[in-house]
Amino acid sequence: MQKKIIKSFILLFIIFIIGVFFISLNKNSIYDTKGLVGQKITNVQLDHFSKNKMITEKNFKENEFTLINFWASWCAPCRDEHPILLKLNKEKNLKMLGVNFKDNKKNAKNFLIELGNPYDVLAVDNQGKQSINFGIYGIPESILINKDLIIIKKFIGPIFESDYEYIKSIVRKK
């Protein structure tokens, strides 16, 4: 009898461990920007750059496509990609959300006055904490999402002409 109890206990314990492993398989704990493609973004709460309001994922649902661009006035490559962002702004199906990353507000404003403002909506992430949720390593980085909030592509580093063509081909298909 005692033997049987021990054996059953061992088997139950093994089943318990395997069960926990099984459940955790479906929990995604990976922090990997590559893996973000194809995933839905949730829990977005960004401060608006100038108004006292929050930008959430609901704001993206209104657009066919949204390009979220992380930038700062102190970042040199952001300057390089800026003309392309301005070109992208002309795309009908695409809305542009800029996230000003760890920046000085005044410098950011001057940057946009000097080079032009390609953004339909501008948010700010002073601490860089919200950007972590988007898997941002450093800036510039951009994320293209669709109406269903699924990430279609991530662009690490500045957006090049080839990326522009790619985004154009996607948003014009619609």
Binding site: I14, I18, F21, S24, L25, N28, I30, Y31, G35, I156
Partner: protein
């Protein structure tokens, strides 16, 4: 083209595996004493095909055949030739293929080198081994196919993760896999032994070389991973108690316990079921480790892809293995009374096993505890070095003393201890420890105990070596491993206590001084390489005490494929100490964050581990000579 060849070969291998199992069962019914020649031929054919299959994948990487997804995702035409090849196993699919190859080749070697053993025992072992091989081949073919194609064919590959482009990491997986997969042989043999109630001594003889092979390679594999972490991750440490590192350490503890208790089984025919449990446990832990790092449950550089179906497959495979072995064990288990003399080699080996199991449970708990709390309470915790250090380190002291005394005892009953010698060695260890404190610097009480116990083991081992030479015997394998383990603990202790770490910001032309050192930021330049661009800093380190000057060149590398930034430490290794500098840029300023470290005896830590594994190889050669 290459994809078709690869898939065909994989498919053929599955057919061969199935036919092999069929012929093996058929052979069981035959009355002859020898295994039929057909089986040898199929095994040889199976091994040859899987090797060709692997070379097909290597060829695809070398010629950058981006029609194959694995190549497209993990290679790039500009990647250096060496990393094109190592990229073959630097990804999930390719590394699984490597598993399958080693499984298959080992299966063939087992067939070749077990001729002196009972036919049925060999046949059942091969059947189990081939079930494992089939499990992996099905996984490869249907879930993680390294030869899957992508259309349209991309012009260029995405590139291998830059931090995986490192020589130490290129050899790390093959070494570790020989360890992991080597344990499959004694898993299969243990199941077979249970099935036919094989004699314990003969069983021990048949698997001991396999245990030595897997243990020695596992040790080297862990070392290669650790060296990579030291050079590449840029943190200046060599062991971080990261769950993925732990996953390689868990089977190592089980193997080490097995290595020792196997001696008792061979010499005294004791601990049969315990040895069987350890055999089963080692391979189960190896597969568990693979599950943990591949399924995406743990986040690390080893998590190549986040595909739950992969984890599920390994989990199902693992569960079947565990249940089959546990139920078989329950059916066959017989309680035996050992009546060990407390003062005997057997008892000391048992004590070694207790220590190993203690370490195993500690590390296992620390590794899977966060997974459990997250699933059960939805609360994320992380178990870090403080837990492991506080649980493991104090026990190491006791362990080292037992490790010194164990080999001195005799089998069955030990007659007497040389108490006089023991006290002399202890006093010598204490004196050397105080000399270190007196000459250099004092350290914590626990460090005192660690260093004394390590010295105790080292001196005991040296004395054993001296006696061995006097008797003109050449079996130094145990002494080499034990001595090297003592040295490892000693150097880790000294490294921990004498390291110097400084973190500061500098811009070009500036200089920082502390203790006897000065670090000057001389220059900064941008260079373009074949597969990356690099910002290279030039730092001059001066030691005013001995007028030593060294120049180090840490880098910030920008890889295009895939776009990643890595921070490359610049390390000057010396016999006595390493100088280590990393630099990282600071947003919005021309200052760089500099991490300077002086790490004493680093090279001796690596050498100690090499010698630990050398002990295993020496014993293997000795056994080979005896022609087991």
């Amino acid at each position: 083209m290459l994809s078709n060849i690869g898939n065909t070969l994989l498919f053929l291998n599955i057919l061969l595996g199935i036919s092999l199992i069929y012929f093996l069962f058929q052979d069981l019914g035959n009355k002859g004493k020898l295994i039929s020649k057909n089986i040898y031929h199929i095994c040889l054919f199976q091994s040859t095909l899987i090797i060709i299959c692997f070379f097909t994948l290597i060829a695809a990487f070398v010629v950058s055949d981006f029609s194959i997804i694995t190549v497209y995702q993990n290679s790039h035409s500009l990647k250096p030739f060496f990393y094109k090849i190592s990229g073959t196993w630097g990804n999930h699919e390719g590394s699984l293929l490597l598993w399958a190859i080693i499984l298959t080749i080992f299966s063939y070697f087992f067939l070749l080198y077990s001729k002196s053993h009972l036919r049925d025992y060999r046949i059942y072992s091969l059947i189990v081994q081939n079930i494992l091989i089939l499990g992996f081949l099905f996984f490869l073919l249907f879930n993680s196919n390294p030869f899957s194609v992508i259309l349209p064919v991309p012009q260029e590959g995405l590139g291998l993760n830059p931090i995986l482009q490192d020589p130490a990491l290129a050899i790390h997986p093959p070494l570790l896999y020989i360890g992991f997969v080597g344990s499959s042989i004694y898993f299969s043999a243990a199941i077979s032994s249970l099935l036919i109630n094989y004699d314990g001594r003969l069983f021990a003889k048949s698997i001991k070389n396999w245990v030595l092979i897997s243990w020695s390679f596992q040790t080297l594999g862990i070392l290669a991973g650790s060296i990579w972490a030291y050079y590449e991750l840029g943190w200046g440490g060599f062991w971080f108690w990261d769950p993925v590192e732990n996953a390689s350490l868990l089977p190592w503890f089980a193997m080490t316990a097995l290595l020792h208790s196997l001696m008792v089984l061979e010499k005294r025919n004791l601990f049969y079921f315990w040895v069987i449990i350890l055999c089963l446990l080692t391979f189960i832990l190896s597969v568990t480790g693979t599950f943990l790092v591949r399924s995406g449950i743990l986040n690390s550089v080893h998590t190549f892809a986040n595909d739950p179906s992969r984890g599920l497959y390994i989990l199902v495979f693992l569960s079947l293995m565990i249940f089959a072995s546990v139920i078989l064990l329950f059916n066959k288990f017989k309680k035996s009374n050992y009546n060990l003399n407390p003062n005997s080699k057997e008892t000391f080996i048992l004590v070694n096993n207790w220590f190993m199991i203690f370490y195993l449970i500690t590390v296992l708990l620390g590794t899977i505890y966060p997974i459990f709390t997250e699933v059960l309470t939805d609360y994320k915790v992380s178990v870090g070095p403080p837990f492991y250090n506080s649980v493991i380190i104090p026990i190491v002291i006791l362990f080292l003393f037992f490790m010194s005394l164990g080999p001195q005892t005799q089998w069955i009953k030990n007659n007497s201890y040389n108490l006089n010698l023991m006290i002399k060695i202890l006093i010598a260890s204490i004196l050397i420890n105080f000399a270190i404190i007196f000459l250099f610097k004092s350290y914590s009480l626990i460090s005192n105990f660690i260093i004394i116990s390590a010295l105790f083991l080292i001196i005991y081992s040296l004395r054993d070596l001296y006696n061995l030479f006097k008797k003109k015997k050449i079996d130094a394998s145990r002494i080499v491993s034990h001595f090297a383990f003592g040295a490892l603990v000693l150097f880790i202790g000294l490294n921990h206590n004498f390291s110097l770490e400084k973190d500061f910001n500098l811009k070009k032309g500036e200089k920082r001084e502390f203790e006897n050192y000065s670090v000057k930021f001389n220059n900064l330049q941008l260079e373009e390489f074949k597969n990356y661009k690099a910002v290279i800093g030039e730092f001059e380190i001066n030691n005013s005490q001995n007028n030593l000057s060294r120049t180090l060149y840490p880098e910030i590398r920008i890889y295009q494929s895939p776009s990643t930034i890595t921070y490359e430490a610049s390390i000057r290794s010396g016999l006595l100490k390493d100088y280590y500098i990393t630099m990282s840029n600071i947003d919005r300023s021309d200052y760089y964050n500099i991490k300077f470290q002086k790490k004493p005896f680093m090279i001796w830590i690596w050498i100690s581990v090499i010698f630990i594994s050398l002990g295993g190889f020496l014993r293997l050669f000795k056994n080979a000579k005896k022609n087991y």
